[in-house]
Amino acid sequence: MTRKFLTSLVFATLALLPGAASAEPWGYTDGTGNTVNLDAVPTRIIASQDAAAGLIPLGIRPVGIYADSPVADAKALQGLDLTGIEIIGQAWGEVDIEKAAALAPDLIIAEYWPLDKAWSGGEDVVNALSPLAPITGVTQGDSVLALIEDYEALAAGLGADLSKSEIAADKRAFETSLAAFKAATSAKPDLTALAVWAGPDALYVAATSGAAELVDFKNWGLNLIDPEIADDRGYWETLSWENADKYQPDLILVDNRQAATMETALAQPTWTLMKAAEAVAVADWPAFWLRNYRAYADELDKLTAAINAADENLTQ
């Protein structure tokens, strides 16, 4: 407890020091090309839950976080120390403007979703917060690694010391995990994988290009099967449970945002029409929530183990 407190104190001081010491102007250009310019490095930051998950492990502690669910349920924030951070929103579209104002923020950091043309939290939250301070942040793209690197650049600009031992260790751990993942995929060139979300009404097969981490996996050598017809937004193919065997991968990745998804899948009698499901070649798909090296490394390790255990010749 004391160590944790001391660590956060050190982080807080580190975050404060550059701003206090140098009165030099600060600027950041987000993915949409908009630049935010401030007279000094911002130290009082309000972050969306995802931005907080990206920044806190890099040593940037926001003064306030807004989430779209109870913070305890937010997968991205799991395992992060949030003591002393004011939670100013725990419901979709709702944020306590007065609490936010009392925090006197000098910057709002969110994520930009180009497809929805929206900042995280949605328009209402942005409209509520933007009179208090300018809003900026990284843009969702086609790689989680790139997203984390964007967070590194943003954090460095905000005065974080990325060479600090803990932060550097996280990054090294990720690089080790990544190397192991690449080795595993190149050892099994014929292994195919399918990312799914299981609903009570249907099996949803993910299109690789719809999820940044799936694009990463593909680039690192995993043969992900792409659905034939994705929906009009390019995210899913919806398969009736009668057609659950339309694709036969060697390994199935199941969305792990909620444990219930796996339970739903197992409860379906036709789940095991997929040979991989019958052989229990099933692994977690960390869908949409990865924002830092440590979480990514953990998930990659699980995947690597699953790939090593899988039979690449289960299906042709």
Binding site: S69, D201, E263
Partner: protein, 343 residues
Amino acid sequence: MVSAPASVVTTRGTALALGLFCLVAAVVLVAFLSITVGARPIDLQTVWSSLTAFNPQSTDHRIIWDLRLPRTVIGLAVGAALGLSGAVLQGATRNPLADPSILGIHSGAAVFVVLGVAVFGITQLSLYVWLALIGAGIAMLVVYSVASLGREGATPIKLALAGAAMTAAMQSVTSAILLTSPRTLDEIRFWQVGSLAGRDMAIFVQVAPFLAVGVVLALASGRMLDGLSMGEDVARALGQNVGRSRAMAGLAAVILAGAATAAAGPIAFVGLTVPHVARAITGPNYRWILPYSMLLAPILLLAADVIGRVIAPPGEVQVGIVTAFLGAPVFIALVRRRRLATL
């Protein structure tokens, strides 16, 4: 005209009984369709051999047994329950708008399921059954007792108002929970649309006792509903205990609607529309309206489910959507044709 010749009555009775027989045949037909038609094309021969000589190695056979049979059985049961509960509610409240969703029974069931998912982390459909039944029962109890207060008892207008109030209150609670818990929203959005897919026989086994009790109670209340339909004073003059008749009919409706909602989610339009169609065929006699509703509703529900399975391959459209689109126009046509305000 005052006293119809006995032969006319008998002819009408025979015609209605014949009609009932035709409906049974129609139920068998849609059940057959529901087993043979699906998102995955399976030819008739395979369907037949799966029924006569089941081979667990055959994917097609497994789909017939694991998916289509349970879904057909549940569809028949849920349909019958919804049709009966709508007819009983309309008769007991003498209210053309009476329907499990209008009287707040669906929303009561929904709020308990949502609470179960959000607070206790329940995710198995089999546990939804109990939650839905409890919620439906409480909602109906509150709505009915509130509407019965006052001198004139539960008049149609007071029942409908109390039901609407209940629905609004429950929907607010539901929305509050869903907004603060995306985890629950993700679970519930598939349940609340109303669907027969992904239900196995265990669910049927769980709701079957409730359905049996509900069906017996409902069919037994036909004579009382006929008495009520002549007005409460006439019913009393005929020696009927109006309060007890209503209570029994209400209990039947709650059990049926609660069990149906638990098994398939809130399917809104069947209970409202089917009794009106039945009444258009049979005339105002509940001893006929009830069995007709009980047979017409599963026909509508299963036909809707079959349509939903084939219109958006390789996926499916949930039955709740299809029934709304099939049932609502029928209902609107009926409203335009007949005077419904007098029940």
